[in-house]
């Protein structure tokens, strides 16, 4: 099962508080009027320049384990070691906001509009992360619609560079997924282009498999603590790519058999 999806930014529009946190403004602080104004402008720019797209492809566990092994640099034990044996389904994914957003950020810095450039960068990073949630929801919905997993399952995305999955894991992931159809490529340093892109694996299973205690070595240096609570529920039937095989809303994606 593979799908190349054009996504709607409205789904991935960043939560203002999440963007503010990226700007170093914690939830216990109020932004200045200047920052609020910049954030509003940045979201407008994001709407204008983002061209979100993504690729999802289901992968068998054994095959994924070879992808995950990467270049042998993963942390051990790592969270995915506990997740994989209990997952019902796995899918590789990559998604991007497109190149125009990065060009706009560079243009703002190039014209000394540093503050807006900085806020747009934070908003774009937050939106890019949101894309993985959208893909997770769509994939889960497709599985439920096909009757492949029960309706109470949850999906969560894991990415190279996080949770003990070494960044060099990107190489095997890209070799297997080949997300060029969504316009995403990898350089020698494992850097994705366009810059505002995300990739990884979506694991679907009982909600409990994603509720990991932060006991791993990687958790000690990671500030993210919402990971245990952000497992995505399915969207309503009809909003996933599954329905696009035959219905008129084909502009949401171009599914093809994997």
């Amino acid at each position: 099962m593979r799908a190349v999806l054009r996504l709607d930014l409205a789904e991935a529009e960043p939560d203002p508080r999440a963007v503010l946190e990226r700007l170093g403004i914690g939830r216990d602080r109020e932004p200045t009027a200047t920052v609020s104004g910049l954030l509003s402008k940045a979201v407008d720019l994001l709407r204008r320049h983002a061209q979100p797209a993504g690729v999802v492809e289901q992968i068998a566990r054994q095959e994924f384990e070879a992808v995950y092994a990467g270049e042998g640099k993963n942390l051990s034990p790592a969270p995915l070691d506990a997740v994989l044996p209990r997952a019902d389904r796995l899918a590789l994914f990559a998604a991007t906001l497109g190149e125009d957003v990065s060009l706009e950020i560079a243009a703002l810095f190039g014209t000394d509009d540093f503050a807006l450039g900085y806020v747009l960068d934070a908003a774009a990073s937050s939106a890019a992360e949101g894309l993985s949630r959208i893909l997770a929801r769509r994939y889960l919905s497709a599985l439920i619609a096909r009757g492949e997993v029960p309706a109470d399952r949850r999906a969560l995305d894991y990415s190279p560079g996080y949770c003990g999955w070494d960044l060099t894991g990107q190489r095997r992931l890209f070799a297997r997924l080949v997300p060029g159809e969504a316009g995403i490529v990898l350089n020698e340093s494992c850097l994705m282009r366009p810059l505002k892109s995300v990739s990884g694996v979506i694991a679907v299973g009982p909600e409990g498999i994603h509720r990991l205690e932060p006991v791993y070595a990687c958790c000690a240096t990671c500030g993210e603590r919402s990971c245990r609570d952000r497992a995505a529920a399915a969207v309503a039937p009809g909003e996933d790519w599954e329905d696009e095989h035959g219905n008129p809303s084909g502009d949401r994606g171009e599914p093809r058999k994997g």
Binding site: L23, G24, I25, R29, P31, T32, T34, V35, L38, I105, F109, D112, F114, A115, G117, Y118, V119, D121, G161, D166, L167, T168, N187, E188, S189, C190, L191, R193, L195, T221
Partner: protein
């Protein structure tokens, strides 16, 4: 003097055009360039720094203020003589080879300029040799390197190593930063400092320059 207070306040609000106008107006009524710099611009920026430390304002506010500072400095700098015209030092900055992330590096550059440093920005995807050549050519006191990818961090060690091989260790100090870069990593590769964010990087550069 009222106009100097206005300069400081406008700078705090990030009003770059207004700051330049006020600086010109101050000079026109006989205020010396040094007074505009010290009692208007620098005083305003010091207040911005203090409010930032107290979390009353945030990095985007500081960036607007730094831009206003630069606008004001551009008015008075050609008129400053001798010591007052001299920058606090020259810093070569860049994102290390293989990495195209440059927001963090850009922020450091803007804030270094706002703090009175000359900044040579080599951009992103910068080979180790280019850092060293630029430092020699520009007579820089500090080389600042940024990385967001763990895969590119070894390039920072190469820069430190190259500076040593060319006999520049101790003359050209090094500072590293970026999300995956830690103070421990800085020590491991022999870098002189680690900046955990843009504001901290400027403080550390100031310390390094003072120590040279």
């Amino acid at each position: 003097m009222e106009i100097l207070r206005e300069i400081a306040e406008s700078l705090g609000r990030g009003e770059d055009r207004r700051v330049a106008e006020l600086a010109r107006a101050a000079l026109a009524v006989g205020t010396t360039p040094k007074e505009v710099l010290d009692r208007g611009l620098i005083l305003g920026m010091a207040d911005v720094g203090e409010r930032f430390r107290r979390h009353e304002i945030f990095l985007p506010d500081v960036l607007l203020a730094a831009k206003a500072m630069t606008a004001g400095v551009e008015v008075v700098k050609p008129l400053l003589a001798g010591e007052a015209a001299r920058a606090r030092g020259t810093v070569v900055i860049g994102t290390i080879q293989g990495d195209l992330h440059d927001i963090g590096k850009n922020l450091v550059g803007i804030m270094l300029k706002g703090a009175g440093f000359d900044v040579i920005d080599l951009g992103n995807d910068v080979a180790p040799e280019r850092f060293v050549e630029a430092a020699e050519r520009e007579g820089a006191g500090v080389v600042g390197m940024s990385a967001l990818l763990t895969t590119t961090m070894p390039g920072m060690a190469k820069v430190v190593d190259l500076l040593g091989r060319r006999g520049l260790a101790g003359k050209v100090r090094t500072i590293v930063g970026g999300a995956p870069v830690s103070a421990e990593f800085a020590r491991e590769i022999g870098a002189d400092a680690h900046g955990y964010d843009a504001a901290n990087a400027v403080e550390r550069v100031a310390e390094l320059v003072g120590a040279v």
